[in-house]
Amino acid sequence: MAKQIFTLNVNGRDHEVYTEPNQSLLEVVRDELRLTGAKEGCGTGDCGACTVLVDGRIVTSCLVLAPDAAGREITTIEGLADGEKLHPMQQAFIDHGSVQCGFCIPGMILSSVALLEENPAPTRDEIRRGIAGNLCRCTGYRKIVEAIESVAGS
């Protein structure tokens, strides 16, 4: 259980990490780098709350060993806004009343952003399937779908 040193590039910055290798990317980002936007809702990849982007694609960071993410570009919710200007998806979630308790929201927004990268003009059904890996218990999803639709349409 020797600790390992490796470098994680998170939100455009390199972080040298010295940790036991059984740590998930989620644990390192949250507990070592103190970027607590990504959440642990299940630890088994079934809820999506820990979703981050790795090289532009969404993964559940609870199921990525941190050393495996070395050398890749990691984006967490903290890296999405441009200074004080929110990403259009973040703004849309506020404007459409898509946020209640907020626990799923960082992952949900990153999934939504990546969805539009892959499919800039999704149908409503494609949006619904595209965010199906992110559970939300508060909203019933409608206002989330509408927020994503508004960004896709703009």
Partner: protein, 782 residues
């Protein structure tokens, strides 16, 4: 929907986005699991693998040898944490006091020891190394078997029942009889009667009698339970960061459990990742005690499997219901035996089920018995409108079936029979002003209901379409609340409450202040204080947050306004009655040049040598009049008769909210609750094996609806003002969950001509109802 004229409002009643939304979309909002304290120990729990077992011994030797493991705590240790040396865990018969199981474990997953370590991984390894010797005892899992004479007892007799979870949600005027005499698994019994049910059934043209079941379910919050406690031995101060719907309830529970003075206790309710009734006090007293014993900060975050297995799910119910109706659609009698499974500690909402299940229609004759039954399952807690969806599932299928058998319109039958303002509930208590009639009216005029025959005609050989309707509702909780509103030196306003904002209530609070002070939202800040800094407020539960704290804030705002007028009247040499608050200034009506800006006013109350006292408005209320909120929900389903899969095609929810202070967030409450109802109807259930071990303790097999599983929900707001709520508002959060399961069951019956008697209506249950699988008798289910 109401003919009453309502005043023109400047702020309340408008759609507003959340004033503090940015924190939650940027990852800045801090939840309990995000809290790190220097020198913090991590806690993991050792769980009983048996449903019922005597704890013979606990040997921590091997665990303590693991690198990083610091302490292993067992129930006997808690005397060290309690001020007077007593130990609440000894022979505890309430879950709240049973910090860890003492002498025996009464459900699979019950915590029996706590491992404290420097890292979560070390704590986890420590858990595996703790050696517990058990002597397995007979267990009881089946509700009917548990009620029989001679059944094994699920647990030692209960001394007194803690109904705080239920009471946090609803205020019931009901006497519950607790078990006395011979030990039994029936922890409590409640009974309501009216008229003569035999006479009622005798004059019925149709009688439907069936047993309906609904499963135990998780509240589904995405954030698992999390608590951090930090005891400082040098100062004696105990600080607790909790994922809770009610920080004052956590404070008071720790105070009672550990005999801890509240002057030395600060509970900080963090941002909450969903509660829905499931986030009360669960682990807070335990973690507080562990920190006191260890003399270091302690963090406990449940894994998802632990949270599903051993937190406090919503109960299952078994309801035997006999109802009668005449040919003209009028109801004759209802006889209900309502059994709720409490799990291994009492506290199930059997009284709610028996009461609400028999109160929403005008039953001339009724007999309802509610039983709370103990079994060796995890003890239950509250969920959004605790107990109600189980009862509505039963009642609404019976109503639907009676209408079908008499060839009556199931919508019209409901409208004909629903309770009205002033009608008695089963308990005899009269309904305050309610809008159930208006709610049902709007639902049955909706195209989804009107066009249901056309919808059925869309059916193919293997895809059967049906439309279902059901009603539900919630009486609403009551709890006192206070709030403070302060005028800042720049003329803006800060307010402090002690209620945890989960879904946007602070925005609605700001709207109330904006309304009363005639200022804009961006001039208002709402702070949720902690238990040392905020005035008391009840829990964010029971659909009462806005109903109670909103009223307190409104009073505080009015108080502040009056204080401002007092100063202004003196300065402007005017009569207070001639003043108005407008454009951030107090002015003499009709003389805008005679005016004092709010910033000027503030400086006159704070500067050196200022003549006037600081302006702090206070509001305190004790709400006494409930404002029940009702819903009617419509769903169109398509049933695949080959596979049993049910697809939800359309869904509409109609709900009387009294007055929608923020329609945007009201819709959010309606849509969210409706989707939880869909989960109840189709997917969500605890599945146990014969040994009482949960088989689906993860989010893959405990299936909550994803975005792909649910249709867009149409929300239709009805506004029949309540007597006592702010601007006529009613509680909004809870009614929305109560009818979906029943509406889906009715839609399935409409589609396939057979009824599932147990929800969720899984594909297998649908096929069994159809007789495609099995011998025609439905799956019993556990």
């Amino acid at each position: 929907m109401t003919t009453e004229t309502r005043p023109e409002y400047s702020s309340v009643g408008k759609r507003e986005t959340r004033i503090e939304g940015a924190g939650k979309v940027t990852g800045g909002a801090i939840y309990a699991a995000d809290v790190q304290v220097p020198d913090m120990l991590h806690c993991k729990l050792v769980h009983s693998p048996h449903a019922h077992a005597r704890i013979v011994s606990i040997d921590a030797t091997k665990a303590l040898a693991i690198d990083g493991v610091e302490r292993v705590i067992v129930a006997e240790d808690f005397g060290q944490a309690v001020k007077d040396g007593s130990n609440p865990a000894i022979d505890a018969s309430n879950r709240g006091a049973a910090l860890l199981a003492h002498k025996q474990a009464v459900f699979t997953g019950e915590p029996v020891a706590a491992v404290l370590a420097e890292t979560p991984s070390a704590a986890e390894e420590g858990v595996e190394a703790v050696e517990v010797t058990y002597e397995v005892l007979p267990h009881v899992l089946d509700l009917e078997a548990a009620m029989e004479d001679g059944s094994p007892l699920a647990r030692p007799p209960v001394s007194d029942i803690d109904h705080s979870e239920e009471e946090a949600h609803v205020t019931l005027d009901v006497d519950t009889e607790e078990a006395e005499g011979k030990p039994t698994n029936v922890a409590s019994h409640v009974s309501f009667t009216r008229g003569d049910i035999e006479a009622g059934f005798a004059e019925s043209d149709v009688i439907v009698e069936r047993t309906w079941r609904s499963a135990s379910m998780h509240q589904g919050y995405i954030e698992p339970h999390a608590t951090v406690a930090d005891f400082k031995p040098a100062t004696g101060e105990l600080t607790v960061w909790a994922a809770t719907q009610g920080q004052f309830m956590v404070r008071d529970t720790i105070m009672r459990t550990l005999k801890w003075p509240e002057t030395k206790l600060r509970v900080i309710g963090c941002e909450l990742g969903g509660g829905f009734g499931g986030k009360m006090t669960l682990n807070s007293p335990l973690v507080a005690a562990l920190s006191v014993i260890a003399g270091r900060p302690v963090k406990l975050v449940l894994t998802r499997a632990e949270d599903i297995t051993a937190a406090a799910p919503a109960p299952r119910a078994m309801i035997n219901l006999k109802t009668g109706m005449k040919k003209d659609g009028s109801l004759t009698a209802i006889e209900a035996s309502v059994v709720y499974g409490a799990g291994a500690y009492p506290g199930a909402p059997a009284a709610v089920g028996a009461l609400l299940g028999t109160s929403f229609y005008k039953w001339p004759n009724l007999k309802a018995d509610g039983y709370e039954v103990l079994t060796n399952h995890v003890s239950v807690g509250a969920i959004r409108a605790p107990g109600t969806h189980n009862a509505m599932h039963a009642v609404e299928q019976n109503i639907d079936e009676m209408a079908r058998q008499l060839d009556l319109d199931a919508g019209a039958v409901r409208l004909q029979n629903v309770s009205q303002t002033g009608d008695p509930m089963a308990s005899g208590q009269e309904f305050t002003k309610i809008g159930l009639d208006e709610t049902v009216t709007q639902a049955i005029e909706h195209p989804l209901w009107k066009n249901r025959e056309a919808a059925k005609a869309e059916s193919t050989d293997t895809k059967m379409v049906g439309v279902g309707l059901a009603i539900g509702g919630w009486l609403g909780g009551l709890q006192p609340a206070a709030a403070e509103v302060m005028l800042n030196n720049d003329g803006t306003v800060n307010a402090v409450t002690g209620v945890n904002d989960i879904t946007g209530t602070n925005t609605s609070f700001a709207q109330i202040l904006a309304e009363e002070l005639n200022i804009s939202l961006d001039q208002i800040n709402i702070t949720t204080g902690d238990t040392k800094t905020a005035p008391f407020a009840g829990m964010s539960a029971g659909s009462k947050t806005l109903f109670t704290v909103g009223r307190a804030l409104r009073e505080a705002a009015i108080d502040l306004r009056e204080q401002m007028f007092e100063v202004a009247a003196d300065r402007l040499e005017a009569n207070e009655n001639d003043l108005e608050l407008k454009d951030n200034a107090v002015s003499v009506k009709g003389s805008p040049d005679q005016s004092l800006g709010m910033d000027r006013l503030a400086s006159m109350t704070t500067g050196f040598g200022a003549l006037y006292k600081p302006l702090v408005g206070s509001g305190s209320i004790a709400a006494r009049i409930q404002a029940p909120g009702f819903t009617a929900q419509l769903v169109k389903v398509e049933v695949d008769t080959d596979t049993g899969n049910v697809e939800l095609k359309d869904f509409a929810i109609v709900q009387d909210v009294g007055f929608a202070i923020n329609p945007l967030s009201v819709e959010g409450q309606m849509e969210g609750g409706a989707v939880q109802g869909m989960g109840i109807g189709l997917w969500e259930e605890y599945i146990y094996d014969d040994d009482g071990k949960l088989r689906n303790a993860g989010l893959l097999d405990y299936r909550m609806p994803t975005a792909a599983d649910v249709p867009d929900i149409e929300s239709l707001i009805v506004e029949v003002p309540s007597e006592d709520g702010p601007y006529g508002a009613r509680g909004v959060g809870e009614p929305s969950i109560t009818a979906g399961g029943a509406a889906i069951a009715n839609a399935i019956a409409d589609a396939i001509g057979a009824r599932v008697s147990e929800i969720p209506a899984t594909p297998e249950r649908v096929l069994r109802a159809l007789g495609t699988v099995g011998d025609g008798a439905e799956a019993a289910g556990s």
